[in-house]
């Protein structure tokens, strides 16, 4: 069986709900920054679009759509403090084990075993279902990139949940 066709299914779903057809991003080319360092010497940061936030300390995401904010998650976070605000994927398992979509405990272990140089002090979570692509590309993404550079991050590991 071929992988689930989420684009076709979402298109049909939107149409059935009376929404105009969603214009999926179609990029003909991909940007590319060569990776030239040794991983064991790199500072790596993690990002998930799973809608995770620190319970009682950070505001939850708008679980529906178009939340252009991000949360900064410190590397030493106790994962039991993480909660998820996101209505568009089944996070029953990720609620119990956030590593399903934000594997920060595994990254701490990779740092401990020397597989990566270091996990960045601050890691990032955002929401999916952002239909405001221009604001995402021109505002949120550059701000996160600026912070990553300031923190001396060498590699960005992305988990679109």
């Amino acid at each position: 069986m071929c992988p689930v066709k989420y684009i076709d299914l979402t298109r049909a779903l939107f149409s059935a709900q009376g929404f105009p057809p969603y214009e999926w991003t179609v990029n003909e080319t991909a940007p590319f920054t060569p990776f030239e360092k040794k991983l064991e010497e790199c500072r790596v940061a993690l990002l998930s679009t799973g809608g995770l936030y620190i319970r009682d300390k950070q505001p939850p995401f708008d679980p529906d759509r178009n939340d252009l904010t991000f949360r900064e998650i410190p590397k030493e976070i106790d994962v039991t403090e993480l909660a998820i605000s996101h209505n568009n994927y089944d996070h029953t398992d990720a609620d119990k084990d956030p590593n399903c979509v934000f594997p920060i405990e595994r990254f701490r272990e990779l740092e401990a075993e020397g597989y990566i140089g270091e996990l960045a002090p601050v890691n990032y979570t955002i929401m999916g279902r952002i239909f405001r692509r221009t604001a995402l590309q021109n505002e949120m993404a550059p701000e996160i990139l600026r912070r990553l550079k300031e923190a001396g991050v060498d590699v960005f590991f992305l988990v679109p949940a």
Partner: protein, 86 residues
Amino acid sequence: MPTISVSSARDVTESVKPPRSVFVNFPLGHTTGKAFDRELQMKIIKDAFDALRSINEPGTIIDLPYRWEDGDESWETEVERQMTGA
């Protein structure tokens, strides 16, 4: 900034074309592995880092071999059923 992406929606990834991706054919919400399966989570992450080092062609997607349930892909049928309301 070099990036590596782990995705569970192959068609969306093909359309968006991130610089480098690995594809894990699991139900959404388990992109980096099943709950409390430390070994599987670690394998997926290390496969992604291998892809970070090996991919030279922008937009490449590498399909990882993991299966949600051996010989049973009924979760895919279930997702389609839910999304079409059938």
